[in-house]
């Protein structure tokens, strides 16, 4: 900066050299914060478009094979999805609370809110683990690997009967029992596709949750060292925004797979 710039009173140079978190190419903390804010929102836009490609795939195949989304839904346990939805919505609250705590210099609340958010994310992944491992065990898998066990098919048929019955769906599932499944290509292909899309979308979302857990853990370490305060809380803010988009994507995934058949 030039000497004329320093002499100019309107120019907020007072903090230079004192703000240890101010990068050299910014003039004020506000400017740095605003730039970061633009950055993280643009990143969220890329996330929306990233998942947008997958929602397109979902919509196309749903429009082409609505009946199989209807059957595919019975293979999923909506109760588990609902628990996870609740957990994530709650974790969004604690993430937002963490930002507020950082802004108010409340170190203890900040750390505990971040820890709660982390635990919620971990709970989500544990529930997901039970869901996935059950499906892998019963052969309810993607594409070529789709080969559900008789026990699982019977369980799903029971579920449908319990709901008042759907003769066409039951007939279809009974037909799958005659193996090998791979020989009924035309028939099971859309169901294979349903689980391809299910695993791809929820899997990619799960990866985002894991990344989020890493970021929150990083924040916990920094927050417990007292590195955030009312003048410097951009990392908490950005990670919280990221965490909200991860929640938001799940809020779309849950009804699209588990509820609307």
């Amino acid at each position: 900066m030039s000497s004329t710039a320093t002499a100019e009173p309107a120019h907020a140079h007072g903090h230079h050299g004192h703000e240890k978190n101010l990068a050299h190419h910014f003039d004020t903390m506000e400017q740095q914060f605003d730039a970061g804010k633009i950055g993280i929102w643009l990143f969220l836009a890329t996330e929306v478009l990233f998942f947008g490609g997958l929602f397109t795939v979902y919509s196309i195949y749903r429009a082409n094979h609505p009946q199989l989304y209807h059957i595919g839904q019975y293979f999923l346990t909506w109760e588990m999805g609902a628990i996870n939805t609740a957990v994530l919505i709650f974790s969004s609250l604690t993430a937002a609370w963490a930002v507020r705590a950082a802004q108010l210099n409340q170190k203890k609340i900040l750390v505990s809110m971040l820890v709660i958010t982390f635990l919620c994310a971990a709970t989500f992944m544990v529930v997901k683990y039970f869901e996935y491992s059950h499906k892998i065990h019963e052969g309810v898998l993607w594409g070529q690997a789709f080969n559900p066990s008789d026990a699982e098919l019977n369980h799903v048929i029971e579920k449908i009967e319990h709901k008042g019955g759907d003769p066409k769906a039951i007939e279809f599932l009974e037909a799958i029992k005659e193996r090998p499944v791979a020989e009924k290509k035309d028939m099971v292909a859309p169901l294979q596709m349903f689980f391809s899309i299910y695993f791809f979308m929820t899997g990619l979302h799960g990866i985002h949750v894991l990344v989020g857990m890493g970021l929150i853990a990083w924040l916990i370490v920094r927050a417990s060292k007292g590195q955030f305060n009312n003048r410097y809380f951009a990392p908490v803010d950005s990670v919280a925004l990221y965490w909200h988009i991860v929640d938001l994507i799940w809020i779309f995934l849950f009804p699209l797979f588990y509820l609307i058949g």
């Binding site: 900066m1 190419h25 950055g39 082409n64 993607w142």
Partner: protein
């Protein structure tokens, strides 16, 4: 002055060497590989994209050599490679040129170097992210080299399913991962530039007082941020498809190959504008500087960049006219595509109007800018042939299409890139090059380019299909002309390489502002100070050439003192 900069220079760790320029401020390999300086990162990109250009060009020469003779014979194959080799060269030429050269060339190399300087800023908004983007690009490039070793790629750069997922025996998974990683490099660069333009503009530089290069980069960045994630997820799907058999695009598993094409072109059409818009941005700087006249129609230039970026998102279906998509979609995409002609034509008219009654200097960058207008006009007009449905069906998948997009897109990038390289070379290196050699190089490249691609229009109209290793005898003369042009093009590039290397070795020292340009980047020394400006630059209209006057002592131009305000942030 410089001392104060160092107070906050801790991120660079270079503040002990205040006073040096960015090239000699710190030394050693590590000071380059871990640099956070946008100028050094820009140079790393510049060197990388030039290597990619040489690699892609080599594949082009190989495939053009293969096409010297029609009539496939085993003897010929032994001499110049089989059809399989041809498929690989054709694919790798396209993929390397698109993903490794044309997309990053101007925004990542010149955008990085020039954008903060045009704003009078010290760096981009996120310097660490910037370095990370470079390493993503580097990783993607290395993965493409791995592809070469792992059996190449024969799918065409478009990697259409189901061929790529079911039949191709080549290294498709590596290539898809490479594109995925390169995509993130592109996204993060765009994100960085948008934040920089929004938050690091000096006080008083309103959006409409920015150099138009920044508007072009801004429009490009918007496309990079909003379109690239879609090819990111698509290549990821293709990768998972290949290793897990999920069947999204495999008809045998209920998948739909047409969906692949839609998702692919949803990115890859806007990507054309990721390549062309920055080139237009360079031309926006070069033409007024060397006409010594303000740019004609500034606001229309700015808005037309945004219009091109916006329309670019809703025209992708014109790549699928013969794919079996609905006639209604064909008509709609055809009509929307035609509207791209409007903002594009505005730009051409404004460039020409800028030169009207100007004091035109035929320097090397200006030569490239003039050639750019010619190539872009021909490329754009033949685009209208292709947008019209009947014309498209006649010329679909022929050399006419190849010639069209080489004129409009490749011509734009190559000539825009070379215009920018010759324009900013004295600023980047601090050395002047021989202008006569520069003009000679530009003429050779221009002649080579036309000789390569004009015959392709003709043979395309006569029915020569694209991507074929073999052809009927009647096309031989056109192929031979085209191949001769490709060699001439190669000679032109070598000329450029030689005189630029010569200028590095023994070029005259460049003054701060050798061209008399009025944008802020020229107020730094050549090469610039490590923090860009030793004195806060004086702001003014970036196209007001009365603000600079010729200086006998240095042979360059200097900013007249006392006019305009300091570019404070």
């Amino acid at each position: 002055m410089a001392g104060e900069v160092s107070l906050n220079g801790s991120m660079h760790g270079t503040h002990d060497h205040v006073g040096g320029n960015y090239l000699n401020a710190t030394k050693g390999l590590k000071s380059w590989l871990l640099t956070l300086d946008h100028k050094r990162i820009g140079i790393m990109y510049l060197v990388s994209v030039c290597i990619a250009l040489a690699l892609g060009g080599t594949f082009a020469l190989l495939l053009r050599t293969k096409l010297l003779h029609g009539g496939y014979t085993p003897e010929a194959a032994a001499f110049i490679g089989s059809s399989k080799d041809y498929n690989q060269w054709m694919t790798l030429h396209g993929a390397v040129m698109v993903f490794l050269f044309m997309i990053p060339a101007i925004p990542a190399a010149f955008g990085n170097f020039v954008l903060p300087m045009m704003l009078g800023a010290k760096d981009v908004a996120f310097p660490k992210l910037n370095l990370f983007s470079y390493y993503l690009y580097f990783t993607g490039t290395v993965m493409f080299l791995v592809v070469l070793v792992m059996g190449g790629l024969d799918t065409g750069w478009t990697m259409y399913a189901p061929y790529s997922i079911v039949h191709s025996k080549t290294a498709v998974p590596y290539a898809t991962l490479a594109v995925f990683i390169l995509g993130f490099s592109s996204i993060l660069t765009g994100l960085n530039f948008i934040a920089t333009i929004h938050k690091l503009r000096p006080k008083g530089m309103t959006p409409f007082r920015m150099p138009l290069f920044l508007w072009a980069i801004y429009a490009t960045s918007v496309i990079q941020v909003l379109a690239t994630p879609v090819i990111g997820i698509l290549t990821f799907m293709l990768f998972i498809e290949k290793i897990m058999g999920i069947g999204f695009f495999n008809p045998a598993l209920g998948g739909d190959p047409l969906l692949f094409q839609h998702l692919f072109w949803f990115y890859s059409h806007p990507a054309v504008y990721i390549m062309v818009l920055p080139a237009m941005g360079v031309i926006n700087e070069v033409i007024p500087t060397f006409s010594r006249k303000p740019i004609f129609g500034y606001k229309m230039m700015a808005f037309s960049s945004l219009a091109i970026a916006f329309i670019g998102f809703v025209v992708w279906g014109h790549h699928l006219f013969v794919s079996g998509q609905s006639p209604f979609a064909n008509v709609a995409f055809s009509a929307i595509t035609l509207t791209v002609a409007v903002p594009s034509a505005i730009k051409v008219f404004n460039w020409v109007s800028t030169m009207y009654k100007g004091d035109i200097h035929f320097t090397t960058p200006m030569m490239y800018a003039l050639f750019f207008i010619y190539l872009f006009a021909i490329g754009g007009l033949t685009g209208i042939f292709l947008t019209a449905l009947p014309g498209n069906i006649h010329t679909h998948d022929t050399y006419f299409v190849i010639a069209h997009f080489h004129f409009v897109m490749v011509g734009a990038v190559i000539f825009g890139f070379l215009a920018g390289l010759n324009y900013w070379w004295p600023k980047i290196t601090g050395k002047l090059y021989n202008n006569k050699a520069g003009v000679l190089g530009s003429v050779l490249i221009f002649l080579g380019f036309n000789l390569t691609f004009l015959p392709q229009f003709v043979m395309g109209l006569k029915g020569m299909p694209r991507r074929y290793a073999n052809y009927a005898q009647e096309f031989e003369i056109y192929h031979q002309l085209s191949t001769a042009g490709a060699y001439l093009l190669g000679v032109g590039f070598l000329t450029v390489l030689l005189y630029l290397l010569a200028s590095l070795a023994k070029g005259k020292k460049a003054p701060s502002n050798p061209w008399g340009a009025a944008s802020l980047d020229w107020q730094s020394t050549s090469p610039p100070h490590m923090h860009n400006f030793e004195k806060t630059p004086l702001m003014g209209d970036p196209y007001d050439y009365s603000l600079v006057s010729h200086d006998e002592k240095t042979g360059g131009y200097v900013r007249k003192p006392g006019e305009g305000s300091s570019a404070h942030h």
